[in-house]
């Protein structure tokens, strides 16, 4: 495990000058993951903030081979690239000692929702790739619309805080567990505030043969209505409240990587974010209570599975 100083000395392969927002969680996540990827890595990105923000022609932030083809197909696109690598190596068109890693990236929209089928197919086929979802909890690139990852109660532009329907009325998908249910060798949840944990998980994912998955919470000041300078703190609070537990499922065994000494109430995370502002009105208080119950229940379930074999 590299120290922060050692990591900082690795050549930057995701350069500055991109157009992602101040305080966006994606760049620190990408920089850490690319540092863990090894020398040779090829990436594909689903349509979304990361793609739009890093490649406005003729500029690019990517100092590695990179492709964008569409929104719902990052996993399928990477399936083709990884297959090309296998055959071209077999046919002697790529040096036998050249190890290349494959990284597919999508936001929550491109992963939980529209890209879910392609992801599921690629996981089932077991391509040797790492799929990273940066989960900021809504379709942020198109202007904050609800997704399958949007938290219960959250206001988005397609689940606004109305007087009849106060924010999103449905629970979010538990994508990390759904992905793990494909019996892939490695699936984990991480957060950019805990760079050591994220780095370790990314290294593990790149080292393990087969399809691996990282779900990383990614603060979005634009969609969360938070201060850009608070982003890392906001990610940390998501973990401290157990809204976003840090855990991994390796070879079928679940392991919680961080257990807060004192689980903070969900309110502490919610109150900093404008998207939950309406929940603090008297008539909506019950939504916070429901959300707290849900977080408690999920955390208890996770605790009961800690160290257990899931498949």
């Amino acid at each position: 495990m590299a120290t922060l100083k050692e990591l900082s000395q690795i050549e930057e392969r995701f350069t500055g000058g991109h157009r992602l927002c101040a305080g966006c969680g994606i760049p620190p996540i990408m920089r850490l993951i690319l540092r863990a990827a090894g020398e040779h890595v090829v990436a594909t990105t689903a349509t979304g903030c990361l793609e739009v923000g890093t490649t406005i022609y003729p500029y690019t932030s990517w100092r590695i081979p990179w492709i964008h083809s569409a929104f719902e197909n990052a996993a399928a696109t990477m399936s083709g690239i990884e297959s090309a690598y296998n055959v071209l190596k077999r046919r002697g068109k790529i040096a036998q000692d050249r190890e290349i890693k494959f990284l597919a990236i999508g936001g929550d929209g491109g992963t939980y929702d529209i890209g879910f089928q392609a992801l599921s197919g690629a996981l089932e086929r077991g391509h040797d790739m790492v799929y990273v979802c940066y989960d900021n909890g809504a379709y942020m690139n198109t202007g904050i619309q609800r997704s399958g990852a949007t938290p219960f109660g959250s206001a988005t532009t397609t689940s606004p805080a109305g007087s009849v329907h106060p924010g999103k009325q449905q629970r979010r998908k538990d994508l990390t567990r759904i992905v793990a249910a494909h019996r892939i060798p490695y699936a984990a949840q991480a957060s950019p505030h805990n760079w050591r944990d994220l780095e370790k998980k990314a290294q593990k994912a790149f080292q393990i043969k087969g399809a691996c998955f990282l779900n990383v919470i990614s603060p979005c000041p634009l969609g969360w209505y938070t201060k850009p300078e608070d982003s890392i703190e906001d990610a940390k609070l998501a973990v401290e409240t157990c809204y976003w537990p840090l855990y991994e499922i390796e070879d079928g065994v679940l392991k919680i990587n961080y257990k807060p000494k004192e689980k903070k109430p969900i309110e502490e995370w919610l109150k900093k974010q404008g998207r939950f502002k309406h929940l603090f009105k008297e008539e909506n208080r019950h939504i916070i209570e429901e959300l707290q119950k849900e977080v408690d229940r999920d955390w208890e379930t996770l605790l009961s599975l800690d160290g257990k074999r899931l498949f």
């Binding site: 090829v42 406005i56 100092r63 964008h68 569409a70 399928a76 083709g80 090309a84 055959v87 392609a118």
Partner: protein, 398 residues
């Protein structure tokens, strides 16, 4: 599964078996596909070759046609020679990715076994699937029979990968009529196939990690139009490459291909224009009417995209009346896609022939030599009376 032994000989194969066999001979780097009637047998038989180690292709049995084309795009951008096959709804599901493949200038080759589009659901032949993709930036070659489909597939590889073209190619053949009918065809020797198609040598690859490239960047109004202009010029210029490749193919293997095939057209007064297998049926009618002294002819476009409008005008301009038979309806209240293209091509003719349109054969409706004779008789009536009663109509229906 088809069993083909030996090489360079005449065998009886279905269209699907011939395409699968051609793919075995090409032995592409990557093949990603999803089953759909009537093209399923192509991938089934190719999977058989894969299972027995007769190809060393990476076969990706994806979970949808959208992912099939997406995987083809990834593999092609990674420098692989890539092929796939589909039909109907499968092609429709790929639609978004067809534009990405052509826009990124990836030389993917795809066999399209033409089948009607839903609704109502129907598994039989018409051209509504590939016609829906006619403006997707893919080169389209249409095949009359099994031999043509087989020969076109090799030529497609050369056309797509030509540095002046770098554009994906669809090789279309008629579902069931060609895909499932056994016909005699002459096979090409494996070594000669390899020699004809050559090695795929892409200028760029995502796997060249020492020279990283960014593919598919977000492009704004300052550059998008210029990139599309380059693409437009490349597909227009591919016509010459199609002819060059056809010439070389003929020199090597003796079978002649062009932008189109004309049949007894030189002195014809009236002419039918039709794609694919229906051209074979129409030739029977032409021969029969010619034996009675009627000056009838046929034009069968082979290259439909890009559309060789000048050559088509030259070939048709002497006719008095033409009927374009479309195996797809544009649902535009005017006429089928081939009709509007042919009619527009003749606008610059010194003396414009009358051009009418009949929609035929939708969802596998039979088309016979008698039907063709009826079309020619209607054309003679138009010439005699100088009147067009119905510009566009469904063949045989009021």
């Amino acid at each position: 599964m088809a069993t083909v032994t030996g090489t360079k000989k005449v065998v009886g194969l279905t269209g699907n078996s011939a395409i699968a066999y051609a793919m075995k001979q090409i032995d592409p780097d990557v093949c990603a596909a999803y089953p759909i009637t009537p093209s399923t047998a192509i991938m089934e038989e190719f999977s058989g070759y894969y299972a027995d180690g007769q190809v060393s292709t990476e076969l990706i049995a994806v979970e949808s046609e959208h992912s099939a084309m997406s995987a083809c795009i990834g593999a092609s951008a990674a420098g692989a020679r890539v092929m796939t096959a589909t039909s109907s709804q499968g092609l429709a599901l790929m639609w978004e990715m067809l534009y990405v493949a052509s826009g990124l200038r990836l030389p993917i080759v795809m066999a399209v076994v033409n089948r009607a589009l839903s609704a109502p659901i129907n598994i039989h032949c018409d051209h509504s699937d590939s016609m829906g993709a006619r403006d997707s930036g893919w080169i389209q070659l249409y095949s009359e029979n099994v031999q043509e489909a087989y020969d076109n597939l090799f030529q497609a590889v050369r056309i797509a990968e030509d540095k002046r073209v770098l554009t994906p190619v669809m090789v279309c053949m008629d579902g069931f009529i060609t895909s499932h009918a056994i016909e005699n065809l002459t096979l090409i020797d494996d070594a000669e196939v390899k020699d004809f198609i050559g090695e795929h040598e892409p200028a760029y690859s995502l796997l060249d990690t020492e020279n990283p490239i960014t593919v598919g960047a977000m492009t704004l109004p300052d550059a998008y139009m210029d990139i599309k202009h380059q693409q437009s010029k490349a597909i227009a210029a591919s016509k010459d490459v199609v002819l060059e490749v056809a010439k070389e193919f003929e020199q090597r293997f003796g079978r002649s291909y062009g932008l189109m095939e004309t049949y007894r057209l030189e002195d014809a007064e009236v002419c039918v224009v039709v794609l694919s297998s229906a051209a074979g049926t129409t030739k029977v009618a032409v021969d029969e009417l010619r034996s009675k002294g009627k000056k009838v002819g046929l034009l069968k476009p082979r290259l439909y995209r890009p559309f060789p409008h000048e050559e088509i005008m030259e070939a048709l301009k002497h006719c008095k009346a033409i009927c374009v038979l479309d195996r797809a309806d544009s649902m535009n209240g005017f006429g089928g896609p081939l009709f509007t293209d042919i009619r527009a091509s003749l606008y610059d003719a010194p003396e414009r022939p009358v051009v009418i349109n009949r929609i035929f054969g939708l969802g596998g409706r039979d088309y016979t030599a008698e039907d063709a004779i009826g079309v020619y008789e209607e054309l003679f009536k138009v010439v005699e009376t100088g009147k067009v009663e119905r510009l566009s109509a469904y063949l045989g229906e009021e």
